[in-house]
């Protein structure tokens, strides 16, 4: 008897485990095909869409202020199945829906009243904020819900759009998904210095919390096409957008920070006035703060190695060191112009340190930094900055000058 009891014991346990499994049901199980994948989000000043207006007329409203219009871009199972079938995409491969209101979360939940597949944010690629909104609301208010919930990944990008943000989430090309397009362009930073390093939610939050001014990538849109152009300056104190850097100024910032991965510098030959193009292979920059009593100054040393990628000066022999030296010189001049240009704008116009000078000071002179960090942007605008640029051409490509 005793033996048989000890044999049934494990059986009994496993049976009760099985029962336990069946009791719980399927906790938080949501089949993948019963959800819509949210992939893009755009925040704009309130402007109700025609559908919303019609719904409101029939009484589909709740107590809210119409402040913000959120546009959700998502992929519904129906859209997904029509794009994956062999026949290829005939119509749009995404769905955009707008909601107007004053709470981000409430607006998302309103969507559940309009579609059988609720939107999930796991796959959210990009959040675009309209310039008008960014100038009038604090970024931390706009992004609060996104940062607070765990569903949206902290790696999701944040962009600022020149016009209405919802326009950047439109395309006219069949099969193209606008949110993927925006997220994909950021990857091209190895080909040009005019793209900022990706600004994700988590980076935005750290910048906001540190109280320093920073840049965010700006994007333009026209006729369903987009272009990354320049950057928005976000003030460290107000956390609102205060101004814009154009493409060349953004290039200057990239040279100062040394974070570029590739790109070109176009300069003109002094004698002939023909363009010479220098392509960056590596870029290095060091910002050295100098503190003398109360005065703070900076030295910026920029070094770069690259190749001569295009040369319109037909008469020149590119095999000759003399010519290469000249080319280096004129490219250096061009970079200096870019850097000087943007420093002027940062210090005089916006009075905002968006290139990380304060960070270098914090690292090298923490005590000084503690004293000045409260009104750093003001102190920065008065600090003298010297810069030096050194470019080296180590490769002139596979063609040279003509035989003489």
């Amino acid at each position: 008897m005793k033996q048989s009891h000890s044999n049934t014991h494990p059986l009994f346990i496993s049976l009760s485990v099985l029962l336990f499994l069946s009791l719980t049901g399927c906790w938080s199980s949501h089949e993948i095909e019963e959800q819509s994948l949210g992939i893009g989000l755009a925040f704009d000043k309130a402007k109700q869409s025609s559908i919303e207006k019609k719904l409101n007329e029939q009484g589909g409203a709740y107590s809210k202020r119409n402040l913000i219009t959120t546009t959700y871009q998502f992929i519904t199972p129906q859209v997904a199945s029509s794009t994956t079938k062999q026949s290829g995409p005939q119509q749009k491969s995404y769905v955009n829906v707008s909601e107007t209101g004053d709470s981000m979360h409430q607006m998302v939940r309103e969507l559940s009243l309009r579609s059988e597949q609720p939107v999930t944010a796991h796959h959210m690629k990009v959040v675009v904020i309209g310039e008008n909104l960014a100038r009038s609301y604090k970024l931390e208010q706009l992004l609060d819900q996104n940062l607070r919930e765990s569903e949206l990944r902290p790696s999701c990008l944040v962009l600022i759009s020149k016009g209405r943000a919802s326009n950047t989430l439109e395309t006219k090309k069949a099969g193209e998904i606008p949110a993927f397009r925006l997220a994909g362009i950021v990857e091209n930073a190895y080909r040009t210095t005019r793209i900022l390093p990706p600004m994700s939610h988590i980076k935005v939050e750290s910048k906001i919390k540190s109280g320093s001014s920073f840049l965010m990538q700006k994007v333009l849109s026209a006729d369903g096409q987009v272009k990354f152009a320049g950057a928005a300056v976000i003030d460290g104190k107000t956390h609102k957008m205060t101004g814009t850097l154009n493409e060349e100024e953004l290039e200057g910032v990239t040279w100062i920070t040394g974070k570029g991965k590739g790109g070109v510098v176009k300069s003109f030959d002094k004698e002939t006035g023909q363009p010479i193009v220098y392509e960056i292979e590596t870029m290095k920059s060091s910002i050295i703060p100098h503190v003398k009593r109360d005065s703070i100054s900076f030295d910026v040393n920029i070094e770069s190695v690259g190749r001569l990628s295009e040369n319109w000066v037909v008469s020149a022999g590119t095999f000759k060191n003399e010519f290469l030296k000249n080319a280096e010189k004129s490219s250096e001049e061009e970079v200096k112009r870019l850097v000087g240009n943007v420093l002027e704008k940062m210090q005089k116009e916006y009075k905002a340190d968006v290139a990380g000078f304060g960070n270098r000071l914090r690292i090298e002179h923490p005590k000084v930094w503690n004293k000045v960090k409260k009104d750093w942007d003001q102190r920065f605008s008065e600090a003298p900055i010297n810069y030096d640029v050194k470019l080296t051409i180590n490769d002139y490509g596979t063609t040279g000058g003509s035989k003489k």
């Binding site: 399927c26 949501h30 993948i32 199945s81």
Partner: protein, 523 residues
């Protein structure tokens, strides 16, 4: 109580006739021979005479007029031997030699005389009890009874039917001996003896089965193996108390440590090279008459995922293939449950573009992922089982019908998604790449509870299942050796032969977990 009685009976078989006599019920049948041939014959006929295949051949010994009889079973005994050697010796040569002594002969013909002077065959044994004689005759020996003699002679004429040596079906290799065990025990032990002169190879014989007695041989190498291990194996074999043992699977199930575990704790193999390798490591092999499957104890999980080819090939491909097999084991166990977990719970963990295409293919499927996966997994298990039963010419055709048509049609009909078909195929292929059928089927079986856990709790459930399984494995032992060793308990020096197969140059010692007497394998 019953058990103990039986154990002592098995242990003392044939050595202790006194004990048999004490039992009153068996007195009639174990009666010793009298000197009256007629009476003995009657007794024997009562015991086994009703069998049509038992032949009684009566004759006169030489021309002496002494009645004799030989008894044998048609088909089991070597008739050729009886006709050409035994009968002529007894009927022809006997009379020629001893004609002169005819008057004194009767009554003085002893077994010694027949044994030493007359019969020219190698195996002769005298027995005194009718019961023992009967049982021996029924296994192929020939009995010789002579009028006036108090004991009978058993002549070793047993001739077992054997088949040709073939390549092992269940464990085919590209490189390695093409020899597999057969059903004959003596052939099998000879394979072990033949594979080089093994020093101190011990083959100890036991008998198992209460009604149908079978020979069982425990093989080990005396100066390597841990004596306690041998003792334990022998004890467990002695404790076997069952009517008959048709296959070594019975022995395996009766001596394993934990019969509730889904994992096999005894390895079975058809390959003599594998057995010899195990013996050399200090393990014990159990050979049973009538089956080509030899058992090896103790085993570890890592052994189950190894193939002899790992050692026959050079160490780099050996290591690569072994790692591939570990991967296959994990895939076979977890792919469908991971599929369910990702589809039903964690759509956020799938890369976006893959998620979109999965959504696209699944949007018409009416079932939740669990039902869909169970449907296909069960279908493929049925296919596998059917493929085993099908006659050989139909087999491949059915495989095509099952694999391609059911898969393709199910997708077309929108019952399952194409991704699932990939998952199911991957699982099946992975499980077949595991060199041991018994562990492969364990993993295939365990994936069903894993799927249910995944459908209940998602990835969390899969991890719970994994923890449950590993905690069981950690606890499990095979003949005193932890099942997961050398991973748990941790012994880094033996990891040389766990995930990787290091060069033979570096594997100088036998596994420590076996407590061998002689730990050095290579100088």
């Amino acid at each position: 109580m019953m058990m103990k009685e039986w154990l002592s009976k098995i242990g003392n078989k044939g050595k202790d006739p006194d004990k048999d006599k004490q039992a009153p019920a068996s007195q009639d049948t174990t009666c010793p021979f009298t000197d009256n041939l007629h009476f003995n014959l009657e007794c024997l006929k009562q015991e086994i005479g009703h069998n049509w295949d038992v032949h009684f051949r009566e004759f006169n010994l030489g021309r002496t007029g002494i009645r004799s009889v030989i008894i044998f079973v048609d088909g089991l005994s070597d008739k050729d031997l009886i006709d050409k050697h035994i009968m002529p010796s007894l009927m022809v040569d006997f009379s020629a030699e001893y004609k002169q002594n005819l008057p004194y002969l009767k009554g003085s013909i002893s077994k010694e005389f027949i044994k030493n002077e007359v019969l020219s065959i190698s195996e002769i044994e005298a027995v005194r009890s009718i019961k023992e004689l009967a049982s021996k005759v029924l296994t192929g020996s020939t009995a010789l009874l002579i009028d006036g003699s108090l004991d009978a002679l058993l002549l070793g004429t047993a001739k077992h039917k054997t088949r040709a040596i073939e390549e092992p079906v269940s464990e085919a290799l590209v490189r390695g001996p093409r020899v597999g065990f057969t059903e004959s025990l003596s052939d099998n032990t000879s394979f072990l003896r033949c594979s080089g002169e093994i020093e101190n190879l011990s083959l100890v014989k036991f008998q198992v089965g209460k009604r149908s007695k079978k020979d069982l041989v425990v093989a080990y190498i005396k100066d390597i193996v841990d004596p306690e291990l041998v003792q334990e194996v022998e004890n467990r074999i002695k404790k076997i108390d069952i009517d008959s043992v048709p296959e070594s699977g019975y022995v395996e199930q009766l001596i394993e440590d934990n019969y509730l575990s889904p994992f096999p704790q005894v390895q079975n193999t058809e390959r003599p090279d594998r057995v010899v390798a195990a013996l050399m490591e200090g393990r014990v092999a159990i050979l049973l008459d009538g089956t080509p499957f030899v058992l090896i104890v103790p085993v570890t999980l890592s052994m189950m995922l190894q193939s002899p080819e790992d050692y026959y090939e050079r160490w780099i491909p050996g290591t690569f293939i072994r790692m591939l097999r570990y991967l296959a084991a994990i895939l076979a166990l977890f792919t469908p449950s991971l599929y369910i977990a990702f589809i039903s719970f964690h759509s956020g963990l799938i890369p976006t573009k893959l998620a979109i295409s999965i959504i696209g293919t699944r949007s018409g499927v009416p079932f939740p992922a669990l039902i869909e996966a169970l449907f296909m997994e069960i279908a493929i298990e049925i296919l596998r089982e059917a493929g085993l039963r099908l006659p050989k010419p139909i087999g491949p055709a059915m495989g095509i019908v099952g694999g391609l048509i059911i898969g393709e049609a199910a997708v077309q009909a929108g019952i399952v998604s194409p991704v699932l078909v990939i998952v199911v195929a991957l699982t099946a292929i992975s499980s077949f790449s595991i060199p041991h059928y018994s562990i492969g089927i364990t993993l295939r079986m365990l994936r069903f509870p894993a799927m249910i856990c995944a459908a209940t709790f998602g990835l969390y459930g899969v991890i719970l299942f994994f923890l449950l399984m590993t905690s069981h494995l950690v606890k499990l032992k095979s003949f005193g050796v932890p099942y997961l060793s050398p991973a748990v308990p941790y012994r880094l020096s033996e990891w040389k032969d766990l995930m990787v197969r290091m060069p033979l140059m570096m594997m100088k010692r036998r596994p420590k977990m076996l407590h061998t007497k002689n730990p050095i394998r290579k100088g």
